[in-house]
């Protein structure tokens, strides 16, 4: 009850902030959340007028990463008409989403001066249930293990109670890595075989903004759309390698997947490696460029020289 009251206050402050940004024409729209069409859910919402802000909500069902909308919104049209102006967008973020936004700025997909980042207090999220009959109130594991409920570099911080950052030890990943290769492969195949190649993970991910995804290329064709094991494996491993040094473990892919695949097995591994091998926590450590976009003489080469060892 007390928590709900606090949430409502936070919600009120968010609406006031958004209203001011829109009324002053500081931004053209504020991307936030509004109530979902099912109980215990929310959905992305583009508030474009001051009166729209009444629909904005802030609760523990705001799990989606709204940063995924930004690259397309800032994509300049091929033939811009003379009235075209680069949009100015306010965006509601949690710690993880904020890291995504800062990452997109670093990768020059989003102009920093054209966004207003509104940082929300986050106590953890409950993703919308994909099972129509049951729904749990369990905070996602990603949130329990989150190292960045709040981050630096936000424009407007909405006051409120946030989780304490978890200690990043990636115990589950280390445990998985200690298993023999055949067992790891078996578990991996079991999980990835659920994939139906719907591409929801890719489209939900803010980092997947390539105009032509490697998986859709025909010249050459790296992978086919068929969901046979070899193709599915190449798609997911390929996508994950492209996230290396960039993934912020926001669980957007996990939540978007209709089949409930444990993609967190990958995202945690990426985060663990980025930290161990490059000292990078994307969006938190203020890296000039993503870790794998540059080469330093002292970069770890263990994966070449000794793949089985860390």
């Amino acid at each position: 009850m007390a928590r709900e009251h606090k949430m409502q206050n936070t919600e009120k402050k968010l609406r006031e902030t958004a209203k001011k940004l829109l009324a002053d024409h500081t931004v053209d729209c504020v991307i936030g959340f509004k109530d979902g069409s099912r109980p215990k859910s929310s959905r992305p919402f583009f508030a474009r007028n001051p009166q729209d802000v009444e629909k904005l909500v802030w609760n523990m069902y705001c799990a989606a990463n709204l940063a995924t909308f930004l690259p397309k919104l800032f994509e300049k049209p091929q033939r811009p008409n003379k009235d075209y102006k680069t949009p100015r967008i306010g965006i509601v973020v949690k710690g993880c989403d904020g890291r995504s936004v800062l990452g997109l700025v670093k990768e020059k997909q989003v102009p920093r001066e054209n966004i207003v980042i509104i940082g929300m207090p986050c106590t953890g999220m409950v993703p919308a249930s994909k099972n129509e009959k049951s729904s749990s109130e369990e905070i996602a594991r990603a949130c329990v293990e989150c190292v960045s409920p709040t981050i630096k570099g936000i424009d407007i911080v909405i006051d409120g109670e946030s989780r304490k950052p978890a200690r990043a030890d990636y115990a589950r990943i280390k445990k998985f890595e200690s298993k023999p290769a055949e067992e790891r492969w078996k578990l991996f195949v079991e999980e990835i075989s659920k994939c139906i190649r719907c591409n929801a993970c890719r489209e939900a991910c803010p980092n997947c903004y390539c105009k032509v995804c490697f998986a859709d290329q025909k010249k050459p064709a790296w992978v086919s759309p068929a969901n046979v094991l070899s193709e599915t494996v190449v798609f997911h491993l390929g996508r994950m390698f492209h996230q290396a040094g960039r993934c912020v473990e926001c669980d957007a892919c996990v939540n978007a997947c209709p089949m409930g695949i444990d993609l967190r097995l990958f995202t945690q591994k990426l985060a663990s490696d980025a930290k161990d091998l490059f000292g990078s926590v994307p969006g938190v450590t203020d890296d000039a460029v993503p870790a794998l976009n540059t080469f330093m003489q002292d970069d770890s080469e263990c994966f070449i020289t000794d793949p089985e060892e860390k």
Binding site: S42, P44, N131, K133, I196, N199, A204, P225, A226, M259
Partner: protein, 336 residues
């Protein structure tokens, strides 16, 4: 043929008997993710207390990927789906309704899809009426029902201690006749309970005013409406791949040495490159045009071409859309 009854305690032997009559028998069983459609063995424990399978039944007849032909230096040869008799238990009426729609697409007088046709011919669909529709169901609003037999061969009603079975097609009648020593006549109480369950389920299903949708869509040329509906769409394809009536596909050639295979795979009109041509021109390059295409195809073009709305009200798209775009709201907006 009058309906028959099967005591629940005899369900396993019924399945065991079916296993002797068909090469594959599939049905709902529980695994750690929930209830899934799986191949059955004599030991399988069927689980009927679920709303619907996560994946639509179309995949049994129109798989996500299948080899349609093999080619080598001497030419191409059509591949044929396995010659196996299949029985599927536990299919919900919305999913069987989707089969009656897909039949119209894949099987017509001019061009028939031999792959879909063969699987359809070889498969006996045993559907199960819904006792507790999910909150996202709306089958009764688009011409379906939790008790509809359209597209099915045999219909089952779960009364708890027993089942009532009814033949729908000639194939279904032959199946029930073959197994008739497993069955008995239903008692008047059983028939009454079935009727009560049917009525209760119909009442429980959520309602949407959808019947005017085809007519409304003929007038909806306003881009602003589609911009609004598509605003938060990610163009991902989750809705398409989980939809029982979506049937878009693509061919893909897989080279193997001097020869190879041509594979058919599921595709989605929601994907940005679905209609992109080699010249770079893309008739549906804008997200709002793709959203309009999806809705129009289901509720306008299908109505025009097949006299049906290609939606069965199963709610899978509502549950699985990462942006929670709700087709019930879209229908309401379109009819406003």
């Amino acid at each position: 043929m009058p309906s028959v009854a099967l005591d629940s305690k005899n369900l396993k032997s019924f399945v065991a008997s079916t296993l002797k009559q068909a090469e594959r028998v599939r049905g709902p069983v529980k695994d750690k993710t929930g209830t899934v459609l799986a191949d059955l063995s004599a030991k399988s424990e069927l689980a009927f207390d679920f709303a619907n399978f996560k994946l639509p039944i179309k995949r049994e007849f129109f798989p996500q990927c299948e080899v349609i032909s093999r080619f080598d230096a001497t030419g191409s040869r059509a591949e044929s789906p396995a010659d196996e008799a299949v029985v599927i238990f536990g299919v919900r009426p919305c999913d069987t309704l989707s089969l009656s729609f897909l039949d119209k697409v894949f099987v017509d007088e001019q061009y028939s899809d031999p792959y879909y046709q063969k699987r359809r011919d070889n498969t006996l669909v045993v559907s199960m009426a819904c006792n507790s529709p999910a909150a996202t169901c709306f089958c009764t609003s688009i011409g379906g029902s939790p008790n509809s037999t359209k597209g099915s061969d045999v219909m089952m009603f779960n009364l708890g201690n027993s089942f009532v079975l009814e033949s729908v097609s000639k194939k279904g009648e032959a199946f029930l006749k073959k197994n008739q020593k497993m069955f008995r006549d239903p008692t008047p109480k059983e028939l009454q309970k079935r009727k009560q369950q049917e009525e209760a389920a119909e009442k429980q299903v959520g309602k949407v005013n959808a019947s005017a949708t085809p007519a409304s869509l003929l007038k909806k040329n306003d881009s602003a409406l589609w911009d609004e509906i598509a605003e938060t769409c990610l163009s991902c394809g989750a809705c398409t791949f989980l939809c029982p009536t979506c049937h878009c596909f693509d061919f893909y050639d897989e080279k193997q040495g001097d020869g190879g295979t041509r594979v058919r795979v599921h595709d989605a009109c929601m994907f940005a490159t679905f209609t992109r041509e080699a010249s770079g021109h893309n008739p549906r390059g804008l997200k709002r045009d793709r959203m309009r295409q999806r809705i129009m195809h289901k509720f306008s073009y299908a109505a025009e071409n097949f006299n049906e709305m290609f939606c069965v009200g199963c709610g899978r798209c509502i549950v699985n859309c990462p942006s929670n775009i709700d087709i019930r709201e879209t229908i309401t907006k379109v009819n406003a």
